[in-house]
């Protein structure tokens, strides 16, 4: 049957099994919206209040489900507003397909109303992008976009659709392609068997090994394989910020997060290790600290689907390119075939050393009677939700505390902006998570700075009745900026003080939600409980916290992993 471009767009989404799309209408996408509205029985369109939020919401949806997140925005400012979200998804390898409207083909390049070259603008921050030049190309392009976004190292793919392709004046035969063949794109999932054998040798020989695992484990759905491998060998596991939940935090083999605000034991174990097994992690500068001082005595195995991640920052001894899930399964099989077992004595000694480091108790905090400490709030949230909530975070001190004190036992539950560090990510991403998991508890941990960067989304939350638990750790500062200024700029607090904060309680109420301000430590638990128990209403909990609190431990920029500031 011959269909219009707009109809082909909708039918293609249905063929991809898209059930939710986040967006904001505008001139160039009106034909698409006209058809989307008719397809409301199959595809829920969620109207955000700013295009950046559409992308973050799609990211939350994708990160919590491992499905492709989908968003649609109009041309010009709609597209440019989406760029921050797209860059965020690019750095965190989030599978997204983003549709942007474009001016009619005849006007492209004429500086038409609401025209920008969004293909040019987003080229460095997408996995790939397409400008649809003919109606016949539309369905195959959508097929390719979903394929590229979700395979290999996932990432955002943008499709720019000129308005006249969707207007229905021209129609074409619609058949959604069953297969996609891109000659220049064939991700390699299976690890090289020889490299896997070498990795098995190294694992069995190691005396002080550590598994350093990242977001790739979660993206690949390989938590159970990772857990099996770790338990088989009884080796310690540390997660990156993006990898939290891939290995159960309550497991005694878990030594905590590593990196700039990682635990003492995780960073010391990395520093003293003789074998680092990097799995779906990318040796980010926030993890390695000073690269010259990074893991001086370790042999390095690196498993990653992206060859370009290997030996980019740190030279690797045994690279394995492949999908983490498949490589780990093959590695487990290989180890099962071997008669050798890891050196038991060395293992016991290694654990004794690690347990000595653990005694530092680097995450201890004191909750006095006067001021609420942020750590206490997160700790309580963890207790009350039994470590089982979806936790979305904004960016700053609260993000680090959430990572340190909410002990994730399951993957896909910790949703944050790790690579780009986008303030404003928390609330919209939480909307995406709640829409994907309507019956689950979703918390948005934020601060008085971050929350104001996408505060308008409180309206979206009302429209779709999303009972989020917004936990604002309000210290009246841009806390992480203030902390750096305290440490490295002789306490010159340039512009890090949030003067003229709004009354968040009234603000929440103005948007039709419940707002509570909590100043007394004794009221923390009650307020959290009330919010969590209420499955109908969004709660904005404005916790007035200690303004001078810092995130510890901390590896200052340029220092080695063993040079931590503990308190």
């Amino acid at each position: 049957m011959e269909l219009s471009g707009a109809k082909i767009f909708v039918e293609s989404l249905k063929a991809e099994g898209v059930d939710t799309i986040f967006g904001y209408p505008g001139g160039a996408v009106l034909f698409l919206y006209d058809e989307l509205d008719k397809a409301a029985a199959d595809i829920d369109h969620i109207l955000v209040r700013h295009e950046q939020a559409a992308i973050h919401a799609a990211e939350g949806y994708a990160k919590s489900t491992n499905k492709v997140g989908v968003a649609i925005v109009t041309s010009g400012p709609g597209a440019t507003n989406a760029v921050t979200g797209i860059a965020d998804a690019h750095l965190d390898s989030v599978p997204l397909v983003v549709f942007t409207g474009q001016v009619p083909r005849a006007l492209i390049g004429n500086d038409a109303f609401q025209e920008v070259d969004i293909i040019g603008i987003t080229r460095p921050c997408v996995k790939h992008n397409f400008l649809v030049k003919s109606l016949e190309d539309l369905a195959p392009t959508i097929k390719k976009a979903f394929y590229i976004a979700s395979t290999g190292r996932p990432g955002p793919v943008l499709i720019d659709i000129p308005k006249d392709i969707t207007d229905g004046k021209e129609k074409c035969e619609f058949e959604y392609p069953e297969e996609v063949n891109i000659r220049s794109y064939n991700p390699n999932n299976k690890g090289n068997p020889r490299q896997i054998r070498l990795a098995a040798d190294a694992l069995l020989e190691a005396k002080t090994p550590i598994l350093y695992t990242g977001g790739g484990v979660i993206l690949s759905g390989a938590s159970s394989e990772l857990t099996e491998l770790a338990r088989m060998l009884n080796y310690p596991v540390t997660n990156t910020l993006m990898g939290l939940g891939a290995f159960p935090a309550s497991d005694p083999q878990f030594v905590g997060m590593l990196g700039m605000h990682g635990t003492y034991e995780a960073n010391m174990a990395m520093h003293k290790s003789d074998l680092v097994v990097a799995i779906g992690s990318r040796f980010d500068d926030r993890v390695t600290g000073n690269i010259e001082k990074f893991c001086p005595n370790a042999k390095i195995i690196h498993v990653d689907i992206d060859p370009a991640s290997i030996s980019k920052n740190v030279m690797v001894d045994i690279p394995i390119v492949g999908d983490v899930k498949q490589v780990l399964a093959d590695l487990i099989d290989e180890l099962k075939k071997r008669n050798e077992k890891p050196d038991k004595e060395a293992n016991t000694e290694w654990w004794n050393t690690i347990n000595e480091w653990r005694k530092t108790d680097c995450l201890r905090y004191d909750q006095g009677e006067e001021l609420i400490t942020a750590q206490y709030v997160i700790d309580k949230l963890w207790q009350l939700t039994h470590g089982d909530a979806f936790v979305c975070s904004d960016v700053g001190q609260h993000q680090m505390w959430a990572a340190q004190y909410y002990r994730f036992d399951k993957p896909n539950r910790w949703i944050n902006s790790g690579g780009l560090g986008t303030m404003g990510f928390g609330l919209p991403s939480a909307m995406g998570v709640q829409l994907a998991h309507p019956d689950e508890t979703v918390a948005c941990i934020t601060g008085d700075g971050s929350i104001q960067m996408c505060i308008q989304e409180l309206a979206t939350c009302l429209q779709y009745q999303l009972p989020l638990n917004i936990i604002s750790l309000n210290n009246g500062y841009l806390g992480m900026v203030r902390q750096w200024q305290e440490f490295f700029y002789q306490k010159r607090y340039a512009m890090s003080y949030m003067d003229s904060l709004p009354d968040f309680v009234k603000l929440a109420e103005a948007y039709g939600h419940v707002g509570l301000q909590i100043k007394n430590p004794a009221d923390v638990e009650g307020a959290l409980k009330e919010a969590i128990d209420n499955k109908q209403r969004l709660y904005f909990l404005d916790f007035i916290t200690n303004p001078e609190e810092n995130v510890y431990p901390m590896i200052p920029a340029g220092a080695g992993q063993n040079e931590m500031i503990l308190v």
């Binding site: 080229r123 460095p124 996995k127 000659r183 220049s184 794109y185 370009a308 030996s311």
Partner: protein
């Protein structure tokens, strides 16, 4: 790479975004009109070159990447040079130098000669050096192209 608009821009963008150096760049369609061949000259440590190749391979429109310096290879570049040729001694000298470098005079006016020379980049540098006594009006170089010797090939 795919012979599509935007493909070249991705390559050039990658080099500038990641701080890699482009010494020369030459690109044109091949016998297969769905493909373009791009020859790029760059420099860097082994690790940087490895990273450049990996990053190029990540671009969806790049079909195949080959480091020609892994093989024995032939390298060519073409230069067109316009010089002032008003006086007899200059004309004689220009002709002599052009002959030595196997250059061809391909255009002339009553005031100028235009010479075509091709070869390795170093040869062109040497030719330019030899022409320094003349009044050079314009120089245009094509950038390097290259191909592996023998049966090695970059066939898709």
């Amino acid at each position: 790479m795919e012979n599509e608009s935007g493909a070249l821009s991705r390559v050039v963008g990658l080099f500038s975004a990641r701080g890699y150096n482009i010494e020369s760049l030459s690109v044109a369609p091949t016998d297969d009109d769905s493909l373009s061949r791009l020859t790029l000259v760059t420099s860097g440590s082994e690790q940087i070159i490895e990273q450049i190749i990996k990053q190029l391979n990540k671009l969806i429109e790049i079909v195949k990447v080959s480091d020609l310096s892994d093989f024995k290879y032939i390298e060519r570049e073409m230069m067109l040079l316009k010089v002032e040729a008003k006086h007899t001694d200059a004309i004689t000298s220009i002709k002599q130098v052009a002959d030595i470098f196997r250059g061809k005079i391909i255009d002339l006016s009553n005031k100028t000669f235009t010479i075509e020379v091709s070869g390795q980049g170093e040869k062109l540098d040497a030719f330019l050096e030899a022409m320094q006594d003349q009044i050079i009006i314009e120089v245009v170089r094509s950038g390097c192209i290259g191909i592996a010797r023998g049966s090695n090939s970059l066939k898709i």
